[in-house]
Symmetry: D2
Subunit: 394 residues, 4 copies
């Protein structure tokens, strides 16, 4: 062990977390641009161009909305905006974030239901179908696409199709999946999808990105309880994208500059290429994890997210000691679990600038090396890296 090397107090050399992730160099250059007055006509034009670029990146026909706070703001705002008094609401729970969203939905709903599965599993669309058939007046369904504390995906395309056929409005939390994998937002019928620039787009955390269908806008406008003149209001920002309109309050200028650079990077690299390297990195990581004799958290590898690999902690391994050791000996910082998954798993993010397969090699070495050092039973790091490399060499 090397005391002199990397005290846990030093900044990470490699931030391989599920967010905040470090940023693309282009983004770090752009965020330091001079800060313009929000009503400077050139900033008004700039803001409009960023929203148009964002619309293109999202692949939607309506105008997206940027809220001035990290995605937790978008999620809270979505619940307050879309759930009207008396609404019957179905929340789908396959993890900590899905469960947490219920805490916001429940007090707003007239009737509140949940479908729950184990946190290492995914929602079964058939259960949604059955619920909706039994509750025809369901107004809103909420689903978390990638429940980050579990690293698992829900089948939003299938769920979306069912909800769309039924006529309820669908809220999708796609914070940590969007821009790391393909999401056909309108195709799956997402009425209000929340994401952010601070995961797979490689920007800092400070903004929410929301897409709304025409039905979602209509619901918001009709909802007397939808926040207005508030930080929680989506409605206030509906026309803010137009250079001819003002802002309800000052947008986060530097973060908008960062988002602009993140979008340029995403579009110029092409979304398809970005998704491909997220998928490749995750495949290399999972192959290595298994080859080292460790176990993925997801009971079915098919639901493991391309943007995050959750690894089940072996009996007796303390996650804090493990992550401290990884930082101290290797300079690598990864994410812990949250709530029910805390101390049950650790997570390696594959997001934006870290979605390159060599980062999987790096994570495998640090994970295996630190775990072996902690337990005194060395893991076969070599097997792990070799397996990852076979995926890389395809």
């Amino acid at each position: 062990m090397n005391d002199s090397l990397a005290a846990t107090a030093a900044p990470a050399l490699f931030t391989l977390t599920t967010g905040p992730v470090n940023c693309y160099p282009e983004v770090l250059s752009a965020i330091g641009k001079p800060v313009l007055y929000d009503y400077d006509p050139s900033f008004l034009e700039h803001y409009q161009s960023v929203v148009l670029k964002l619309q293109k990146a999202l692949g939607i026909s309506t105008m997206p909305v940027i809220l001035q706070g990290e995605p937790v703001l978008g999620l809270e705002a979505a619940a307050h905006g879309l759930v009207a008094p008396g609404d019957r609401v179905l929340n789908l729970v396959s993890g900590v974030y899905g469960a947490g969203y219920g805490e916001w939905l429940k007090p707003l709903a007239g009737a509140f239901h949940e479908i729950r599965v184990g946190y290492d599993q995914a929602i079964d669309p058939a259960d949604v179908q059955a619920f909706l058939a039994a509750h025809l007046d369901t107004a809103v369904v909420a689903v978390c696409h990638h429940d980050t504390p579990s690293g698992t995906l829900n089948p939003i395309a299938e769920i979306g199709k069912i909800v769309q056929a039924h006529g309820a409005l669908l809220i999708v939390d796609a914070v940590s999946s969007w821009a790391g994998m393909e999401i056909d937002i309108e195709g799956i019928g997402a009425d209000l999808l929340i994401t952010g620039p601070n995961k797979c787009l490689g920007c800092p955390p400070a903004l929410s990105i929301l897409t709304l269908s025409d039905r979602a806008w209509a619901k918001l406008e009709a909802n007397p309880k939808a926040p207005r003149a508030s930080i929680l209001s989506i409605l206030d920002w509906k026309t803010a994208w137009k250079a001819s309109e003002g802002f309800p309050f000052t947008p986060s200028v530097a973060e908008i500059n960062a988002l602009d650079a993140g979008l340029d990077r995403y579009l110029s690299e092409t979304p398809e290429a970005v998704w491909a390297r997220h998928a490749l990195t995750a495949r290399a990581m999972r192959a290595g994890v298994k080859a080292m004799g460790l176990t993925l958290w997801a009971t079915d590898e098919a639901i493991a997210s391309p943007t995050c690999t959750a690894v089940r902690l072996p009996e007796g391994v303390d996650e804090t000691l493990l992550r401290n050791r990884m930082k101290q000996d290797y300079g690598v910082v990864i994410s812990s679990g949250r709530a029910e998954t805390f101390n049950a798993l650790v997570r390696i993010g594959h997001m934006g600038p870290t979605a390159y397969p060599l980062y999987a090699v790096l994570a495998l070495t640090a994970l295996g090396g630190a775990m072996g050092a902690l337990t005194g039973k060395p893991l076969d790091i070599g097997a792990g890296v070799a397996a990852a490399n076979r995926v890389i060499q395809g």
Copy 2:
């Protein structure tokens, strides 16, 4: 006129607004630092050190709170947190922002009152005294220190003394005055003061800074309606400054790095020196405005803020044409009025990096030059600049 020179579409050369202001170079360098994971021990330590530095800059004995949105979030959160059901609330209105704050307070209050003066005047402390004597059960008083759309100050020291003696809690909006002039936060008895880094501290807009007295914390904790598990919650962030605690949600890492640099600059230059150059710049500006034959907005120059000079628009001068002309011919962007003061005045900010007296010269030239060009009646720019220079040369 020079078409080729500076189309209104080009970014401003000189952003002399009342916020967002451009940032200090130190801040623009710092905001592009690598973004760390919020639970990286080195970020936890960093966050704690920033809050401690902030406490020092604020000159208070309690720990300040950073909320993750520009000061409008802090203002909304303060109202929701400090006003409990049934509270009698007094709101002091000497401008657009004071009036706007009443819109948030009113629905939260049991009984709601306002003292109003003209938007070019300041609240008379005697009126506050009289009101409180007549309404002994008043629980909360709110005052805007610098009502930015008017460029005018309220006498918060005197008001604070009265409120403190009475026992009500005092909310102070010091967003655009703090760090540009001395505010003895605890001395004046501010229980919940809201400010931000995006004005006189020369940072970008994306964070709120709040100071709370022990009484304010007690009120929040006792208030069943105070937001919890919400972007609007102050309580959620009470212990977030401790490196040993977590965050309720991801802080805006890049903006924290920027704030850190802004605080370093403020403290190393010394607050006294910073306040002195704000005051000097404003004095130079006001001398020049008067020498050019224009009129200050404030009826009494003593209430004109050192952080902003509001100039009454002469009859027949359209503010949009004027500001466009200033940008086109001089590359200078200043602020318009808001609501009732829109098209009645224009405002030049003296905040942080623009609080140097030569910026007053620059603003005078652009203001006088553009107005003369628009009206066909040249102003005596020379007299304005000479008057400003006499102030500079003291």
Copy 3:
């Protein structure tokens, strides 16, 4: 006077010098990009694209050369490369830089001649004509376009025509004029022109830019004394622009990134627009200088450079005291004279990011204010600024 305001030890608020100038914001963003290995294929491609962009900005048909040191390197290298043993060389001297160049040329030449005029005057093309007619074997003529320590221009178009007709090779020092005014490099017959990014292109000082005619290349290749395998070699870099070739030694990667951004800015704003604002700024400055009762250094205003205004120091005004006072009271830094012009004049640069007319106002105020404060005899700053403004309002 304000001690607390701006100690001379603090960095300048406004660097209005003749170089180094502060940089465009785009340049400061770009210089902090990750530093690539010079043989990384993506850097090789990048370098080629920068040289091609530079060729476009220069408006020439041959490939320019970048040397890895500020323009003094280019100037020294040009002398060593173009002057062969035995060459008859004519050096034209209208200022300190022209005279200094002779120090390099003289020991390299077979026969060395100079035409000299007062340092506030320009070379008369007729004198060049007469000299060449009398010395038919003259091989090289050297001229400084903008002799920066005097702020004066030589008529290079006329001189170039004469030299071209004669058949000698022409060296042109255009370090501080290029990119601030039109120079038809091939039209005037410049065989080896030296400039740099650190003046009117708004980049930092660290690179030389050279253009060579085919005749210049032929001379270099034939010259046995032309430096090879040396920092002073131009030949070493002849093919370095090609992505398929290597570099003789490591180029200054960060500075190349900065140059790239400076060129983007220049080309996107359009050279014509850039030249126009340099000219306008200089006209405003000169009008103000005269209106304040000061005297231009150039005996004939027609030879005053659009990139620099040299102001004759009144009797008894010490330039160091004056410039210190300007910095202390106004935060403005300007350039002193050099050698023979030291303490005889001061110079305000209009270069790149400072070539906007409001900077003239700022310089006039600081110059006039400081001089008045020093001498106890206030200058009419008002008249100066008003005159400048009349030019701005055109």
Copy 4:
């Protein structure tokens, strides 16, 4: 293989070269600071403080000199300055750079000698001793400490002792070793040592750093051929470090700002800690190389530099194909050999920001993976990484 992943045309993800290396984040932040006028008193003070900091980092009692070009300038300047007409000069050659230096020394020397060993070996101090005993009038000895194209070290302490005892002046090229390992500059008797910020200090390439003993200064001053008034002059810069003196020409302001940040990083991390991680990284790398069945270039591992690992290319492996494949499949860029070592070896730098042991893992994977893919005979990457990890876990 992944076409979509990392075209060779994209910038490297991981620049693991022997220089230019990518920079520390602190350096990339600092290089974008506003560019000050070199004669701004605050820059003069800053320059002095940087040279004093540099002196501390170098651990010397004389004042170091910064030359304004990457270290090749310092090397050329040293030869021209220290070799006087008629001098007997001994050049020690154990690699391409040592041999190249002879090309500069030879034409300057009265008598010129070389001691040569194979490029995978080190100079034997006994041979130096023998030479000097046989040539008592030897005036100058030159040695390359780390001959980068071979990744090998010469025993400069032993050589220095011998040269010092003899009385000749010793030139040491420590460009790619200094700041990555301990060098007792005065202890070993280096009279003129050349290094730079662009290797182990983690700054961009654009400056040379020179240390001179009093004897070296005396020699320069006495040498009529030592360059003066030239980019090649060391003498011109002798007093430039003093804030009270001027500069012979404009220093590279942005690069000085970068150097300042690199020195801060080096001194605050402590040189000992920096050297330790360079050594650890190289040890991990060498262990992995051998475990994968590859061969180090150095015939004796004891002479392998801690700042670079040179790996012998197996028969039939083309270095260009190999390095392209490493970039394409892994995003990793390493250095090729030069001249005689080209296509005989490849080199992985361990310098500054890449001198952390996980970078060795990363390099091993990319090197082994690409070589296996190219040859069709997979290397045992697992064994390589495991061996590296055993070193890391020490």
